[in-house]
Amino acid sequence: MTGLGWEHTGPIWSTRVYAPAKGQDHLGLGSVSSDQILPMLSPGINVLTIHPRYWSFYCWVLDSFWNADRPRTRASFRDFYRPREALFAMACHVCDAAEHPPAMGNVVGSLRIRAKAGDEWFNPQFDYIKEPLGGYGLYYRSTMEATDTIAVANAASRFPFDAATPEGRALAAAFGSAVGDTALGARMASGDALTETVTRADLVAFAREACLCQLRLADGFDLPLLRDLFLHGGREQEARARRYTLRMLLDLSQAVPDTAIDQTTFRQLVYFRTLGTLTYQPRSDLRDTARRWRTYQAREYFAFIFNRLLGWVTRRGLHESDDGLFPLPAERLRQMLDHALDGNTFAQDRELGRRPVRAGTTAADFAATLAAEVDVTPGVDEPWPRHDLLDEHALYDWCHSQEDDPETVVAMLAILLLLHRRVGSPDRLAALAADGLIGRGGSTRNGMSRFFTLLGPKITGGATLSELAWWLVNDYVIVQHERVATSKLPDDTFRVRRSGGEQLRFFQQEAPAQFADSRYLALSTTVHEVGLVSNLWQPGHRLSQAGRQLLRDGDLPAGALATAAAGLQPATVTG
C-alpha cells in the first residue's frame, strides 16, 4: 500500500493553489459607486444600456420569436435572435439618415460588424459577437426586466425562455409598425431562419426606420412609449429617482448651453457646479438629486485616492523588490513614503507658496494651507469655486497617470484633506446624512462617513503627513486589498500581500486607478434619443418642447405604454 501520509510522509513541497487573475476593483471601492450609489440615482439605466431603442428592438425580437412556430428553448431563441441582432447592427452601420451621427457608438456587435459596413451584401449568420445572446444577454436584459418590459425565464416563472410583458409587446408592436413596411423588417418579424444574404439596399431601407438614430423621429411609433417607460417604468420609487436624474441632466445642460458636456465635464459640473465663469444652481425641486450626484462624485475622488495609492505602492514595491523577487520589509515601504513626502516639489509645482510640504508637516497645517487657496467654505448645496491647480479635479487630473512620483503621494493627501473639509467634517457629514449615500461602503468598503469620522481626530490630534500617509497605506490600501483579494480566491488577484507580519510581497499585476463610469454616456444618450434635448456632447444643446415641459412641470403625462398595451389583441394559441 502506498500513499501520502502512510508510507510516504515527506518532506513534500507545497505548490501554488490559486492561479493569478487580473480582476478589477482591487480595494472593493468601485462597487460602492456602481452597485450601491448609481442604482439609487438612475435605476433602470446602467453604463451598458446606452441606447433606449434597444428596448423596442429586443421586445420586438422576443415577441416575434414567441409568435413563430419554434421550440421555446434557449437554443432555439439563440438561433432566432442572433441573425436579427446582426442585421440590426449592420443596419445601424449603413444607415444613411440625416439624423445619423457620424460615428454612432455602442451599437452591439460593432467591433466585428464595422469591417463589413462597406459591403454590398450581408450574411445574417455572420458571427457578430461572442456572447450567444449578444447585447440582450450581456447588457439590456436585466434593465428590461427592471422596467417591466420582459418576464425573465427562471425556475420561479417556469418559462422556458424570456417573454415580453404586455408593455413589452406594446413596444414590440410599435417598433414592428415602424419597420413592418420594409422588406427586411417583414422577414425579420417572421419565423424566417434568415440564412440568405441581404442586400445593402434592403438594409438601408430597414435602417431608415429602425436605426437607433430614428427613435427621435418615431413619434407615431415607439418614441412616446419609450419616453413613458423611462419616466415611469418599473417600481414607482425607482421611476421617480430615474426621472429626477434625467431632469437634473436637462437642468444642468441649461446652465452651460454652449458647452459640450462630456463625462469629465459632467463630473466637474455635478461636483463643483462651476465651470469657468458659469455656475450651475439646481432648481429647488432638484436640490436633493443634485446633492446625491455631488456625493457620488465625492465618492469617486475618495476612491481614486486609495486606488491611486495602491498603484503607487504596488509599482514602487515591484521596482524595489526586483519585480517581486524578494519580500520588502514593511518598514522600507514606510521609508519610501517618507522619502516621497520629504523629497517632493508639490508646493512649488502647485504654486502653494514657499513653504514645502514635508513628512513632518502636520495634516492640520497642510489642510489649512490648502484651504487658504481653495475655498472650501460654501455649503453642500452651493457652488464650489474652482482652483486651477489645487482643487480635487485639478489634482486628479495631474496624478491619474501611472507616474509614481513623490508629488502623487502629496496630491492624494491633499485631495483627502479637501474632501474632509467639503463633505467629511462633522457638520458636513450631518448635512449629507439624510439620504445615506455618504455612509455607503460601511466598514467593508471604506464608507466615507466612517472614514472621515476616524480621520477627524487624527487631524486635530496633530498627526503628521507621514503618519497620515502610513495610516492610509497600511490600513486602507494594504489591509483592505488583502481583504478584497482574499475574498476573491481562488482567483489570485493579490498585488501586494504581507508575509510574516513585517514583509511585503509584490506581484506583477496591473493596479490601475480610474473613476467608475458615471453612466453619463447612457443617461445623456437616453435624454437625447427620447427627444428631450439635443446632443449634450455637442455645444449649443437645447431642450425640446417635451424636455422643457418635463423640466418645468416635473413630469410628462404618463400612461402611453399602458394604453398601447391595453389596445393589443390578447394572444391566442394555435396548435
Partner: protein
C-alpha cells in the same frame, strides 16, 4: 519513517475529511484567509482551534478591529487563541482528528495564502487509522506539544479547557508517544540536541536553508561546531535575511564551505520559506525540517528561553532526500554581494501600555467575563460592540477579572460574533482601547453535539453558487452516500487504501467487500430508516430527500440561508459587472470577454470533480450485481438524489454533458427498465415498491425526468448520447411504471401552454433519428438495409401533372415482393418521413429498381395509392402507417392539454411549439 521524491501537495486539499477536530498551530495567522477559504472547507468539523503566536495574533486582531473587520466566527464557531510566550510561538502544525483516524501535517507554512497555498513551503504528512496505526507516535508527539502549551499556562484558560474535548474525539490518541517519533518539538530540549542524538556518525556534508538567520549567524556556527562537517553548504535566496559579512566569518570556521543561490525551479519568484538542515554521512543521512529558522531561539534553545518550534527528524540511506532538491535550482555564489543579501531588521514589539490591557474575554449565556493582565483596581470599564455600548445589570471586579451580567439584548448581540471594544475608564487620555473576541465555549461545544449533521445537505436541492461551496457540497455528498464501490469501500474499510481499479475504466473491484459491515454502518442504515419522528434526528439521507422535496421544515431543519453564511467579508469578492468604462476603443470586447468569463460559474477543477463523481455513479448503476448487493431501496434512493443533482449540475454547466447524460440514462434504466429488461420498480416486492414510490414521489423524480428529457434537445449531445436519450424517452413515454399521464405533465409544467410545448419538445427528442436508421426502418422488414437503397429526386407523374419528388430507390432485388409488402413499405416510409422531418408526407414513392419496374406510391392529398408489382397495378385507399405507440401517447396527451388551455400566462408567450 521514510521519505521519497514526491509530487507537490496542496494544503487545503489535505484538510478535506470527516474530522471531528481541527487544530492548527501557527506563528502568523491570516484570519481573513481562514474565514474566507478554510472555515468553509472545515465547516463540518465541530472543533476548530487556531493557536497562534500571542504577539502576532494580538496585532492581527487589533488591526481587524480598527479596520472594520468583524470576523464574527471567531470565538463562536472556531477559536483563535494566542500562545502567550515570551519568545515566538513559531510551531506550524495541522492536526486533524476523528474517532478512528487522523491526519497530521508538520511543516514551515503559517496559516495564510503564503503558507498554505504558495510554493516554497515544506511539509511532512502523517496518517493514522485504527487499522493502520503505525504513525500514532507522531500524533502523540504533536499532542504533547499542545498539552505542553496548556501545562505551561501559555494558553488562555478557556482555550486550554477545550483541549480535553478535542482529545476526546480521538480516543486512539495517547497523551505521550510510546515509541520514538519523527515529530519533535523544543518544549523541553533544544532541537539541535535532539538532532545530535540522532546523528551519531561523522558528517561529511551539511546543507542548510532558512529564510532567517541570527544577526551573528550563531546557529550556523553552533551547527558547524556540533557536527564538524567536512563541507558546509549554505543555501540562500534573494530574500534570505542574513548578514553576509557574518556568514563569511562563520563559514571560515568550516573545513570547506560554499554558498548557493536557490530558487523554486517552476517559479523563481516564489518565496522560499522552508527550513531544513541536511546532514550527509558515509552510510546515513539525516534531515530536520519544520518551523525552526537558523537562530539561537529556534535551534539552540528549549522553550523556556527560546521559541516554540516543531520539526521532523528523518534519517535514511544516502540519497534518501535527493527528491528534496528536485524542485530547486541551485547556483553557486562566489560573490555574496551579487545578490544583495542583507539582514532584515525585525521591529521590536511596541512597548506594553502602562495601563491594564485585556487578555481575553468569555461569554457564557449572559455573563461576560473580561480578563485583564493585571488588577484594574476600583475603576469601571466601558464595553462597546459595533460602536454601541452594551448594557448590563451588574458588574463585579475581582482583581484582573471583570464579570458583567449583560441584559438579554446585549448578550444576544455579543453572541452574534465580532469584536468588543473595551476601555478602562481610569486609563486616562491617550489610552489604547482593547479589542477582544469573546470565547463562546458553549457554542463551540454545541457544534460538537451536532457533529453528525452536515451543514450543506439541507441545501443540496439548490446548489450554492461559489466554487468552494460547491466543492464542499460534493465532499458532504461523498461522505453521506453509498452509491458505488469507492463509497462502499470507504464505509467497509475506512482509512484503508482503495483497491486498484480492476479495469481500464478506473472502476475498482468490489467483490471482496464485506457487505455485512457495509449494511451495519449508519450511513447505509440512513437509507432504510423509515419515516422521520420528531424526537429523533433525521438521517443525512432524509435531510437530502427533504431538501429536494422542499420539506425541510418537517424535519425541523431550517430552510434558511446557506449555513456557510456569509461573513461580511464575503461581499468583498463581488466586482461590479457593468460599470467599467466604455469610452475607449475595444472596451466593449473586453467587457464581452470579462462578462462571459465571469459567467462561468465554477472552476474547471470543481467541474472535473463532479464529473468524476457522476462517472462513478454511472459505472456502479450499470453494474447490476453491485446494485443487487446495494439493495433496491438504496439504489432507488440514490437514483432520486442523483436525478435531481444531475439536473442541477447540467443546468449550471458544472458537469460534462455526456457524462451527466449517461448517468441519467443509467439511472432511468435502473428504475424503469429498458424495452428488454424490467426496472427496479417493476420487480421489487410490494413493501419495497411502496418505499421506492414514496422516495420517487417526494424527490419529484418523474417530473424532473420529464423536464430533463424534453429539454435535452437543447444540449449539445454526441450522437451516441443523443440516441440513448431518444431510446429511453421512447421507452418511458409508454412505460406503465413511469406512467406518463396528464397529471404528471401538469406537475412537471403547470402552465398548460408550456406543458403542451414541453410535449412538443419531447416528440422532437423521441423522434431524433439519422437518415440511415430511418431507411432501415423502411427496409428491414423487406430483408434489406439502407445500403440497399438510395434517395433520388426526379420528375414523376402525379394525377394529371408531373412533379418533382423524392423517391426511395431500392436497387437490391427484393424476394417475394408483393402488393401488400410494397404498401407496408410506403406506410413505414410515412413514419420515417415524420420522424426525420423530411416533409415528403404529401407524396411518398418507392421504386424497386432491383425488381425491374416495380414501384409504389401514396398520394396523401388524393387519398389514393398504387402498387405496381410484376406489371400488375393495384390501387389502394386505406393507408395505415405503423405510428409508434409513444407518438400516439404524446399526441393524445397534447390534445388533452391544448383543450384544457384557456388563458395565456402572459401575452405573446402562448403559441404551441408543435
Amino acid at each position: 519513517v521514510t521519505a521519497a521524491a514526491a509530487p507537490t501537495l496542496v494544503v487545503p486539499d489535505l484538510l478535506q475529511g470527516q474530522w471531528s477536530a481541527a487544530l492548527i498551530t501557527t506563528f502568523g495567522a491570516d484570519l481573513t484567509f481562514f474565514n474566507a477559504k478554510l472555515a468553509r472547507q472545515l465547516s463540518q468539523v465541530p472543533l476548530r482551534m487556531i493557536l497562534a503566536d500571542g504577539q502576532m495574533l494580538s496585532l492581527r486582531l487589533r488591526e481587524a478591529a480598527t479596520t472594520g473587520q468583524r470576523l464574527r466566527s471567531i470565538g463562536r464557531s472556531y477559536l483563535a487563541a494566542p500562545v502567550r510566550h515570551a519568545g515566538a510561538a513559531h510551531a506550524k502544525v495541522i492536526l486533524l482528528l476523528a474517532p478512528r483516524e487522523g491526519r497530521l501535517m508538520v511543516g514551515s507554512g503559517n496559516l495564510g495564502p503564503e503558507g498554505y497555498a504558495s510554493p516554497g513551503e515544506l511539509w511532512h504528512v502523517f496518517g493514522y487509522h485504527d487499522e493502520r496505526p503505525h504513525h500514532v507516535a507522531e500524533f502523540a508527539a504533536a499532542r504533547t506539544l499542545i498539552d505542553g502549551l496548556a501545562i505551561r499556562s501559555l494558553l488562555d484558560p478557556p482555550a486550554a479547557g477545550l483541549l480535553a474535548a478535542v482529545w476526546s474525539t480521538a480516543p486512539w490518541l495517547p497523551p505521550t508517544p510510546a515509541t520514538a517519533t519523527a515529530v519533535r518539538h523544543n518544549l523541553d530540549r533544544p532541537l539541535l540536541d535532539q538532532l545530535a542524538d540522532t546523528v551519531d556518525w561523522p558528517v561529511r556534508d551539511l546543507v542548510v536553508h532558512a529564510p532567517f538567520h541570527d544577526p551573528d549567524c550563531a546557529a550556523l556556527a553552533a551547527l558547524i561546531e556540533q557536527f564538524t562537517p567536512a563541507k558546509v553548504t549554505v543555501l540562500v535566496s534573494k530574500a534570505t535575511s542574513i548578514d553576509a559579512h557574518r556568514l563569511t566569518t562563520v563559514l571560515a570556521t568550516a573545513k570547506k564551505s560554499t554558498v548557493e543561490l536557490v530558487e523554486v525551479t517552476a517559479e523563481p519568484g516564489a518565496y522560499l520559506h522552508a527550513k531544513w538542515l541536511h546532514l550527509r554521512g558515509a552510510s546515513y543521512e539525516a534531515l530536520l525540517t519544520g518551523s525552526a529558522n537558523l537562530s539561537r531561539s529556534a535551534l539552540l534553545r528549549a522553550t523556556a528561553d527560546g521559541n516554540i518550534e516543531t520539526g521532523v527528524i528523518t534519517t535514511g540511506a544516502p540519497g534518501t532526500f535527493t527528491g528534496l532538491y528536485e524542485h530547486l535550482r541551485r547556483t553557486r555564489l562566489d560573490d555574496l554581494s551579487a545578490v544583495g543579501l542583507r539582514l532584515q531588521p525585525i521591529q521590536p514589539p511596541p512597548p506594553p501600555p502602562q495601563h491594564p490591557v485585556v487578555l481575553w474575554s468569555r461569554l457564557d449565556r449572559t455573563r461576560l467575563t473580561v480578563m485583564f493582565d493585571q488588577a484594574i483596581g476600583t475603576g469601571s470599564i466601558t464595553v462597546t460592540f459595533a460602536e454601541t455600548s452594551l448594557s448590563w445589570s451588574a458588574m463585579r471586579v475581582r482583581g484582573p477579572a471583570v464579570e458583567i451580567d449583560l441584559d438579554d439584548v446585549s448578550a444576544a448581540r455579543v453572541a452574534d460574533g465580532g469584536p468588543l471594544t473595551i476601555e478602562l475608564d481610569a486609563a486616562g487620555p491617550g489610552a489604547q482601547p482593547s479589542y477582544t473576541w469573546p470565547y463562546q465555549i458553549e457554542a463551540i461545544r454545541h457544534r460538537l453535539d451536532m457533529t453528525s449533521q452536515r451543514d450543506r445537505l439541507p441545501y443540496i436541492a439548490n446548489l450554492p453558487d461559489r466554487d468552494a461551496d460547491l466543492y464542499a457540497s460534493l465532499q458532504e455528498l461523498e461522505q453521506t452516500l453509498v452509491f458505488d464501490p469507492v463509497s462502499a469501500w470507504r464505509v467497509a474499510r475506512p482509512g484503508t487504501e482503495l483497491p486498484a481499479p480492476a479495469a481500464d475504466d478506473g472502476v475498482i473491484g468490489w467483490h471482496d467487500l464485506d457487505w455485512d459491515r457495509v449494511r451495519r454502518d449508519p450511513r447505509y442504515a440512513g437509507y432504510l430508516t423509515p419515516g422521520h419522528r420528531a424526537e429523533v434526528s433525521p438521517t443525512d439521507i432524509q435531510v437530502i430527500l427533504a431538501s429536494i422535496a422542499g420539506r425541510l421544515s418537517e424535519l425541523g431543519t431550517p430552510a434558511a440561508a446557506d449555513p456557510a453564511a456569509a461573513d461580511d467579508e464575503d461581499d468583498l469578492a463581488h466586482e461590479s459587472d457593468t460599470e467599467v468604462s466604455t469610452e475607449d476603443e475595444g472596451a466593449q470586447d473586453r467587457q464581452d470577454d470579462e462578462i462571459v468569463r465571469r459567467a462561468l460559474p465554477i472552476t474547471t477543477r470543481t467541474r472535473m470533480a463532479f464529473t468524476r463523481f457522476v462517472k462513478r455513479y454511472t459505472a456502479a448503476t450499470k453494474d447490476s450485481a453491485f446494485v443487487n448487493e446495494l439493495g433496491p431501496v438504496v439504489a432507488a434512493t440514490n437514483a432520486a438524489i442523483f436525478n435531481h443533482l444531475l439536473a442541477q449540475l447540467l443546468e449550471r454547466d458544472i458537469v460534462d454533458v455526456s457524462s451527466a447524460t449517461n448517468a441519467q440514462v443509467a439511472l432511468w434504466s435502473l428504475l424503469w427498465g429498458t424495452p428488454t429488461a424490467p426496472g427496479l420498480v417493476a420487480y421489487v416486492d410490494a413493501p419495497q415498491r411502496s418505499t421506492i414510490e414514496k422516495v420517487l414521489a417526494e424527490g419529484k423524480v418523474r417530473e424532473t425526468t420529464l423536464r430533463w428529457l424534453a429539454g435535452s434537445g437543447e444540449l449539445d449531445l454526441d450522437p451516441v448520447s443523443e440516441r440513448a436519450v431518444r431510446d429511453v424517452a421512447r421507452h418511458l413515454i409508454v412505460n406503465e411504471d413511469f406512467n406518463l399521464d396528464e397529471p404528471l405533465v401538469r406537475a412537471a409544467q403547470p402552465n398548460p401552454a408550456l406543458a403542451a410545448a414541453l410535449l412538443g419538445q419531447l416528440i422532437e427528442v423521441a423522434s431524433a433519428s439519422v437518415q440511415n436508421e430511418l431507411d432501415d426502418l423502411v427496409l428491414e422488414p423487406l430483408g434489406l438495409t439502407h445500403r440497399d437503397a438510395e434517395w433520388d429526386k426526379g420528375r414523376v407523374p402525379r394525377g394529371t401533372a408531373t412533379i418533382n419528388a423524392d423517391v426511395l430507390v431500392v436497387h437490391t432485388p427484393v424476394a417475394r415482393l408483393s402488393h401488400v409488402r410494397v404498401r407496408q413499405a410506403l406506410e413505414r416510409l410515412a413514419v420515417a418521413s415524420f420522424l426525420g422531418g423530411w416533409n415528403i408526407d404529401e407524396y411518398l414513392r418507392i421504386r424497386f429498381q432491383g425488381n425491374r419496374s416495380d414501384v409504389g406510391f401514396w398520394d396523401e392529398q388524393a387519398g389514393v395509392g398504387v402498387t405496381l408489382v410484376d406489371g400488375d397495378a393495384v390501387d389502394f385507399d386505406i393507408f395505415q402507417p405503423p405510428w409508434p405507440d409513444w407518438l400516439g401517447r404524446l399526441d393524445g396527451l397534447q390534445a388533452v392539454l391544448l383543450a384544457a388551455f384557456t388563458t395565456p400566462p402572459i401575452a405573446g408567450a402562448t403559441r404551441s411549439a408543435v
